[in-house]
Symmetry: C2
Subunit: 110 residues, 2 copies
DNA sequence: CCAACACTTAGCCATTACGCTAACTGTTGA
DNA sequence: TCAACAGTTAGCGTAATGGCTAAGTGTTGG
């Protein structure tokens, strides 16, 4: 169980930064080049590129370079995989409440 | 838009650590004391306590001390709030696909 | 009453994160 | 052809992270 923690570590870490979340959000609307993505941020390009690489390292985005231009796109499968963690978590949590309900019903019945 | 980034930052950061995710998962099954929570981890207590405080600082858990014992419980609302980010994200993404579909349909119709 | 218990505080250390500037590489439009 | 463009590499500085040990505080069971 849970021998794939590292991917989750990387994904959550990547999403912990507002710049990176904004990039993910932007890419949700379609592909974009690095320079285009960088425009809204008051940050030097090398700094911004680090964010891109973190996102790519986390498998949240994909990028490829054609000529001198690098284009990025969202990998929504990875995003979905992270979201799944919450689903699993809620399943445990709801199951516990179910058990509590059962217990209460049982106590009531006696 | 997005003036509550800091809470998300903290929450995602908190969840980026496997120890802390495990604690959240454990607390999904019900309240537990700090010492109980610490058992599965090969880590000194002060180190473990830092994780607890990070989780609490992120609003993912709540704790209160009675006598010498501190008991922790999950704050599932916060967890749900983080999960919502993915929902919002997917909404954007799916809307885009909807738009693409519309475009394709339109092109086809001509 | 006092030793054991359950944290808690303080402080140290190594590593990683995230920003910067300066200088470099390869591509391309005029 | 060559200057402008789009990134990239290298290296630096500060701050935060995540671990540790040692010693302290307040509570409690026997």
């Amino acid at each position: 169980m849970e021998h794939n923690q590292l991917p989750l570590d990387r994904a959550f870490h990547a999403l912990a930064d507002p710049t990176r979340r904004a990039v993910v959000q932007r890419l949700g609307q379609g592909e974009a080049t690095v320079s285009d993505l960088a425009v809204p941020f008051d940050m030097a390009l090398p700094s911004f590129m680090k964010h891109i690489r973190v996102l790519e390292g986390a498998g949240l985005i994909d990028s490829n370079k054609i000529g001198r231009v690098r284009t990025c796109k969202l990998k929504s499968e990875t995003l979905a995989a992270v979201e799944k963690w919450f689903g699993d978590q809620r399943a445990i949590w709801e199951n516990r409440h179910q058990n509590l309900d059962n217990l209460l019903a049982q106590l009531k019945g006696e």
